[in-house]
Symmetry: D2
Subunit: 487 residues, 4 copies
C-alpha cells in the first residue's frame, strides 16, 4: 500500500507514544508547533510517492509481493535500484536537506543480509522473522527510523566493562514469548514522527558482551519506551526570519528503553555477538550510500542561496564569486559521483539484496563530513556580514524602524529590500544559527564520524595488490608477476 | 582617568540613545536582559585596568599627557606598545571571545596618521581636532566603537552612482558650526554599550564621491542617531544551556544617521576624498592586528573545550584526538606569530604613532577568517553528536526525565553527568548554535573579508625584488645584479 | 586488424620521420636507448589486446565494420563502452603510469561529433572523411597521438593578433588537392612512436581567426613535419637506479609544421571557426575522462610504493602511516568514481557516439591536477630522506663502499639491503627526480589546466535551478514553484 | 678571525678526506665539477662576512672573546641575535635556497646548553670541552656540519634491539685518551665541504642504550671516517639548462665511522643517555628556527620565478595569477613570522645562550614541510607545460632546429625567445627535476619530519590552562578561578 500523507498522519494519531521535550510532556506530536515541521518532512515521502513526476524514484516493486511499494520500504534488488535510491534522496533533500526516512530503509537492507547469515551459522529463524516484518512494513507503509548509537559512557571501555551495565542497550530478561531490553539509544533522528523503531547494535562485540548483541523492531508506543526530544524548530513561527525552520523541522531523541518487552517475532538478533559488527557495518554502508544523495542536495541549496545573495548584491558574475561557487559544485558532485559509482559497483550480498561498494560510499560520506565546513565558509564568504547582523522581522513590522530598514537594506535597485532580507534570513537560517550547527554536526557524525570512514576505507582496500605492483616496478619481483587487474 | 566598571555604567545611564531591537524600543540598555551581557564585556575592560596582574597590558602612558590611561584609548608609541596590545587582546578574549572595545582604539590610531596627512596637503586643522578629541577620550575613558561599513546598496556601483544617494553615509549640509550627515552604517559591533561613536569612510573614493569622504565622532545620544540592534543573547537566562551567551553578549546595529548634526571640532575629514582609502586601509591594518590577539584566544577556548569533552569521554590521550587538537594549536599560534612579528616589524608613521607591518597582520587576519571553519570542525569532530542532540536543562529539571538523563548521559565514571552535560552545552553554545554563526561570520568578515586581505597582501608586497632574483638565477640578468636584501 | 607488438614496431620502422633530440638527429626511433622505453609503452597496447585476461577491456566491436578492433581505435557506442575505457586505462596505467595512446582515441571521438555538426551547418563532407579515416585507422590499428596545444606566443593576444601569425597553427595555402599548413604544436606526447598524428584546434576562435580553425590527420613522416623531442629516460640504462624510467619512457615534442601539405581526404575542419571551440572542448571532455582511469592507477603505484617502504622499515601498520595511505586511497577512488559516474551519466551525442558527463569528468581531472602534489608529499613523508640521499648503484658495485652500504642501508632484518635500496630508488624515480616533475606537471596541465576545468565546471552547471530552489526556501517564490528534479 | 673565501678553500685543500661518489673516489673536493658548486655555497658565507651591506647579519660579537666572528660560529646571546640569525639565513638562501652552514651553528648552540646541564648532574667536564672547542671554531672560522640522523635499521626497534648493534652510532671502546666510535650517520648535508663534523645523538635513549649517547667533534679527514656522497649537480655544466644547479650544489653523505678515534677533548657527551633526547630536541629547536629563515627565501625564489614566467607570457596581472602568487606569499611570510615571533619569545637557557620558542619554530618548520608541495604546484600551475617539455640547450645550438625554437618559443613580442626559455629552464631546474625532489624532501624531512613537529607542538603546549578556561566558561568551575594570562 502507498499511504497518502493524510493516512500517515492518522496512523501517527492512533498511537500514544511517551514524548518529552524542553521540560514538557508532548501530547499531540502531529500538531505541536515544534514538531509539525518534522511530521511534514516525513509527510513529503507519502505525498511524492503519488506524484507521477517522481514515481520512478519514489516507488519500487517489492521482491516479496511484486506490488509497488514506497522505495523507503524497499530492499535493493539491483544496481539500478541503488542508483534510483541515491537519486530519490537527492530529489527529496533538495527540498528539506534531510528527508529523515532513510535510516529504517538502510537498517532493513542490512538486516536482509545479516539475519540470513546468522541463520546459516546458528540455525535460527531470524530471516523468516525479517521477511514477515518486511511484508508488514511494506504493506502498512510504516514510518520508522533506526535507533543505533548507544550512549556509550566511558569511550575507553567496552559495554560490559562500564560502571553501569546499561550504558549500552542490552537484554535483561529472556522469556518464552520474547525478551526484555534496557538501555538508551541517543542521536535518534525522526523517532518522534515514526510508527515503529528498528534497533541495531552499534559496534563489534566480544563474547562477554553477548547480551548487547540485540536487534529488533518495536512500536513507538510500547510500554517503557520514552523519547526525550530536542527540536531545531524556533519557538515562534516566522514569516521572514527562519524561513527554512519554519517549514521543515528535525528532532533527535534520547530513546530510553526502561525494560521494554519485545516479542520473539520482532527480534532479528539476540546474543549472536559475532554478527554485531557486521550488522553495524552493513547499516553504515547503506546509510553512507544515502548520504551520497542527500549531501549533494544540501550543496545544491547552499550554492543556490549563495548565488541568490550575490545576484541581489549585483555581483553574481564576479570571477571570485564564480570561483567560490565552483568549489561547492565540486564538493556536491564528488559526493554524488561516489553514490553513483558505489551503486554501479554494487554487488549482490545475501538473498535478494544488493549492497553498494564499501570504498566508494565511505569516501562519499567522508567528503560530506569534512567538506560541509568549507561549504558553510563559502556561503558566509559570499553572503557577508548581514548573515548575522540583519535586524529581525519584528523590526520590519515596527513602524518606527520599517522605513529605515527598507531604505538601507536595499541592494540592486530592481530587487525589493524585503526579498533581499529574505535571502539573508535564509543564509542565517541555514548557515549561521541552530540549524547550521545541526547541519554541520550531522554531516560530520551522521552515519559515523570521518574517523570511522577512514578506518573502513583502509581496512577494506586491497593494498596487497598495490604493494606487489611496487615490487614489480622496483625490480624486487619479476615484472612477469605483475598482478592481474580486477576492474 | 581610569574609570571603574561602576563609573562606566553610570556614564551609560546618563545618556539616552535611541535603540530598537526585535520590535521593541529599548529604554534601559544597561539592565535589559538581552543587553546586559554585552555591557559586562565592555565592563571587563574597566575592571581589569585596575587589576595589578594585568596593568602592564591594560594600561599605557599617554603621549599627550604622560598620564596612565586605559590602553583601549592609547595611540601606539613603539613596537613594544604594539606587542602589548596584542597580548592584552588575547588576555581579554580568552574570557569573552571578542572584547569589542578595540574598534575605536584602532580607528583613533588610524586617524592619528590620516588627519596629519590631510593637514599637510590641505592646510586643514584636523590633527588638532583629533588631539583635542583624544585628550577628552583618554581623560573620560570613553567607551566607543568605530562605525565604518556602509550599507553599500548595489555592490557593482560607486556611492554617487547608487539609485539612492544615501546608501553610503554622506554630508548633506555644510554649515558654519558643523555638518549634517545622512546614511547608515551596518555591522556596527558594540554601539549599544558605547558613549560615543567614531565614524570612518569604508573605501577608497573618487572626486565625484567627495561628499562621502567624511570622518567624525558623535555622542551615542545625538539627535537623529538611531540604533537598530540584533543580539546573540538567548531570551531566557540559563543555568546549564547557553553558558557562554548567558554570561557574555554581543550586538550589532544598523546605525542610522537621520540627518545628524556634527560640530566642526568633532570632524576629522570632510570632502578630502583622496584620503578616504588611506583611512579605511589604516583602520584595517590596526584592526587586523587586533585580530592577531583575539582569534588565538578563541582557539584557546575551542581547543580547551574539545579537550575537556575528550577528557570526560575518557579519550583525551588518544592519538587522533591529540592530532586534531594540534591542528587548532597550529592555527592559534600562527595567528599570534603574525601579531608578534607584525608588531616587531612595525614602523613609525605620522607623528607619535606606530603602525604594524601590513603583510603580517593581513596574513594573521586571513588565517583567522579562513581557519575558523576547520577549528569548528575539529571541535565537532571531537565532541560528537551530543553537541546538537543533548536534551535541555528543562528536561534535567523535569522529574519525569531527570533520572534517565543522569543515568544515560554519564561518561567517565568519576565525572558527574551534569558536568559532562555542561561541557556539551558549552560546545553547543560556542560551536553549534547562534553564537557559532556569529563567530564564524565575524572571523570571516570582521576587519574585512579574506578577499580583501588577499588583495592587500599582494598589493603591498615587493614582487619586483623577487622577479629580479629569478632573473639572476635564470642567467637572464648578471648575478652581480642580485638585489640587496632588506630584512 | 589487431596488430601484434612486432607488427607495430615494423610499421614504425617503415616510416622515416624527422626527429631531433638533445642536439642529435634520431635515425632509429625504435632502438634508440632514450626512445625504446616509450615504444615499449605503446607496444604494451598491442601485446595486451591479444591477452585473453584483458580482451574485454582492450578490444571493442567497431560500429563501422562489426569487427573486433583495439579499443584505442574505437568510437564509444554506449555507457558500457565508456566504463570499459576507464577500466582499460587504469589497467594499463598501473604498469606504466601513462599509456600514451589515449589522445588519438579521444580526438577521434570528438571528431565523430564535430565533423557531423559542421556538415549539418555547412553542407561539407567532413563526416565522410572522418568515417573513411576511422576505417583505415581501425583496420591498420594505427598508433597515433593528438597534437593540439599551439605554442601561443603572447597569451594575452588572439591568434591573428600575434606579432608572428604562425604562433598558432594555420592554413597558409588552399589548393585543389588539399591545404598547406604552418605553425607548431607543443607538449605533444607520444608523437615519436606514432604512425600518424591527428591535429585539433586548441581553443575557441573568432571569425578573424578562421585560418586557424583546422583539423586533420597526417603521417608522421610527411614532408616538412619536424619533431623536436625531449625524453625523461636517463642516458644510461640502470639496474637499481631509475627502475621505472629504465623500463618505461615518455617524450614530448615541439611538433613543427614547416609548410606541410594535407590532402583534402584527411581534413576534418578548415575555416569553420565557430566549431573550433566545440572541437577543443569535446577533446577535453574525452581526455579528462581518460584521466579518471590513469590517475587512479598512478595513485595505486604511489600508495603501493609508500606501503612497501613502510613495510621494509618495519612500520607498515603504524596508525600515522595508515592514515597517510588512506589519503591517497581517497584521492584515487574519488577520481575513479568520477570516471565511472561520468560514464554512467554519459549521453549519445552526434551519430553513433557516446560522450561522458562534462561535470563529472572535469571534476575527476581537476582532482588529478591538484591532488598529485599531496600524493607526492605523502610518499615523501612515508619514505623519508633516503628518497634523495641514497647512494647510487655504482657505489653498490664499488668494492670500496659496497660492504658499508649493505651494512648500513639495512632496514628490517629479514629484508635484504639491496631490496630496500631498490624500493628507495623507486621512490626517487617516481617522486623525487625528473619523472616526478613530469608526473606532476602532466597531471596538472595534461588535458587542460585546473583553471580550465574550473571554468568548464561552472559554465556547464545548471545554476538557475539551484537559485530557484533558494528562492522557494526563502519564501521569495512560492514553494509550489519548486523546480522539478532532473536526475 | 673572519676567513676569506680563498682562505676557506685553502683550508679544505689542506685536508684529505675519504670521499666516494657515483662509484668514484674523489681526490679533489674543491675542483671536482660535481662538488665545486657546493663549495661555492659555503664560500658565500665567507665572502659576505666581508660585505659591508650585510655585516650586521653575517657577523656577531663572540661572548667568549669579544671579537667579531662569523655568525655561523656564534652562540646566540639575545633575542636580537635570534632575529638576526633568521634574517641572515633568509638573505643567504635567496641566492642558493639552502646555505648549508647552519647545522653546525645549531648544534653548537644546543651543546652550549646540554654540556652544561650534564656537568651539573654528573660533575663532568663537557662544558669546558665545549667552550675550548668553540674558541677554536670561532678563531679558525671552521666550516662544519652536524651529522645527526642514524641509519636506524628497523624503525620499530630501539638501538640496542637491532639485529646489528651498529645501526645507531655507538662507542665501541673507551680508552684513557679518548673513545672509538662505530656506525653511520645518513642524510648528512655538507659534510663534503666541511673541515670538521659535529656529531649529535638522534633521539631519546634508555639506559640500555647508553653506548649510543655520544656527541663529539671530529676532523673530516680522521682515520676511518668515510663519506659516500650523492650530489644533485648535473654531470655537464650548462649555459641554459639547469641554471640553478650549474651555479649551486648540494651533497648528502652516508657518513661512515669505521672505528674512528675521538680524543676526550672533543667529546661532549658519552654515556649520559638521559640527555640524548634533550640534545636532539635542542638541535631540532635551533634548526627549525633556521628553517624559518631559509624556507621563506625559497618561497621568494619560487614566487619570483612564477611571476617572471607570467610576465613573459603576458599575463602577470591576470587575477588568477595574482591569486596563486598570493598563496605563496602567505606561506613565505607565515614561516618568517614564526621565525621572528619565535625569536622575540626566545628565552635564556643554560649559561650565555638564548633559545627560541619551541612552539613557534616548530610551527614554522611544519609549514615549510607541508606547504612546499603547494608552492611547487603553484609554480607548475603558472608556468605551464614547458616546465617539462622545453627542448634542451643542445637543440638551441643545433642549426637544424635553432631557428624553429627561436620562432616558436617566443612569448611576449618584446622578450627574446632565449630569455623566455631560460625562465622555463629555471622552473624545470627548481621545480620539476632532481633539485625539486631534493627541495621537497629536504623541506619535509630536514630538521625532522612534520610528524615530529606535530608531536613536539602538542607536547610542549600548556593545554591545562585551556582546559581550565573551558571549565570556567561551562560553569563547571567558578569563573573566579579563571586562569591568569601568561603572555
Amino acid at each position: 500500500m502507498l499511504k497518502t500523507k493524510e493516512q500517515f498522519i492518522e496512523s501517527l494519531q492512533r498511537q500514544k507514544p511517551e514524548i518529552y521535550m524542553f521540560g514538557e510532556t508532548i501530547e499531540d506530536r502531529v500538531n505541536h508547533p515544534l514538531l509539525k515541521p518534522q511530521v511534514d518532512v516525513i509527510g513529503l515521502t507519502y505525498e511524492l510517492a503519488h506524484d507521477s513526476r517522481y514515481k520512478e524514484f519514489t516507488t519500487a516493486k517489492s521482491h516479496l509481493t511484486g506490488e509497488m511499494v514506497n522505495r523507503f520500504t524497499h530492499v535493493n534488488q539491483s544496481t539500478d535500484d541503488l542508483i534510483k535510491k541515491v537519486q530519490m534522496i537527492r530529489m527529496y533533500a533538495r527540498q528539506c536537506c534531510c528527508i529523515q526516512r532513510c535510516m529504517a530503509m538502510d537498517a532493513l537492507n542490512a538486516l536482509s543480509i545479516v539475519t540470513h547469515d546468522i541463520d546459516q551459522k546458528h540455525g535460527t529463524n531470524y530471516y523468516e522473522n525479517f521477511k514477515n516484518y518486511l511484508s508488514h512494513f511494506q504493506e502498512e507503509d510504516i514510518s520508522s527510523t533506526c535507533a543505533m548509537t548507544d550512549v556509550k559512557g566511558d569511550r575507553s571501555l567496552r559495554p560490559s566493562e562500564q560502571a553501569d551495565p546499561d550504558l549500552y542497550l542490552r537484554v535483561v530478561e529472556r522469556r518464552d514469548d520474547g525478551v526484555v531490553v534496557r538501555g538508551a539509544k541517543c542521536h535518534t533522528t525522526a523517532a518522534v514522527p515514526s510508527n515503529e523503531l528498528i534497533i541495531m547494535p552499534t559496534r563489534a562485540l566480544r563474547d562477554k558482551d553477548s547480551d548487547y548483541a540485540v536487534s529488533f523492531a518495536v512500536p513507538i508506543d510500547a510500554e517503557g519506551l520514552k523519547l526525550i526530544a530536542r527540536s531545531v524548530t524556533p519557538r515562534e513561527k516566522r514569516e521572514i526570519d527562519s524561513p527554512f525552520r519554519s517549514r521543515w523541522g528535525v528532532t533527535e531523541t534520547l530513546t530510553v528503553f526502561d525494560d521494554v518487552f519485545i516479542p520473539w517475532d520482532n527480534v532479528f538478533m539476540c546474543g549472536e555477538w559475532e554478527f554485531a559488527g557486521q550488522a553495524a557495518e552493513l547499516f553504515a554502508v547503506y546509510h553512507r550510500h544515502s548520504y551520497c544523495g542527500c549531501k549533494p542536495a544540501v550543496s545544491d541549496i547552499l550554492m543556490g542561496t549563495a548565488t541568490l545573495i550575490a545576484d541581489y548584491n549585483g555581483i553574481k558574475n564576479a570571477s571570485h564569486i564564480r570561483d567560490k561557487i565552483t568549489d561547492i559544485i565540486c564538493t556536491a558532485e564528488q559526493m554524488y559521483a561516489c553514490g553513483i559509482a558505489g551503486s554501479v559497483r554494487g554487488k549482490p550480498q545475501g538473498p535478494s539484496t544488493y549492497a553498494p561498494d564499501i570504498t566508494m560510499v565511505n569516501i562519499g560520506k567522508y567528503i560530506a563530513g569534512t567538506h560541509i565546513y568549507e561549504e558553510i565558509y563559502r556561503v558566509h564568504d559570499i553572503a557577508g556580514g548581514f548573515a548575522i547582523t540583519c535586524p529581525s522581522e519584528k523590526d520590519f513590522k515596527n513602524p518606527e524602524t520599517r522605513s529605515f530598514l527598507e531604505k538601507y537594506l536595499k541592494g540592486r535597485a530592481d530587487i525589493s529590500s524585503l526579498d533581499r532580507v529574505k535571502a539573508f534570513k535564509l543564509v542565517e537560517d541555514l548557515a549561521a544559527h541552530g540549524f547550521a550547527g545541526w547541519l554541520m554536526v550531522a554531516s560530520c557524525h551522521g552515519g559515523g564520524s570521518p574517523e570511522a570512514q577512514r578506518i573502513t576505507i583502509y581496512r577494506g582496500y586491497d593494498m596487497d595488490t598495490r604493494e606487489k605492483i611496487a615490487k614489480c616496478l622496483a625490480g624486487i619481483d619479476d615484472f612477469k608477476n605483475f598482478p592481474e587487474f580486477k576492474p
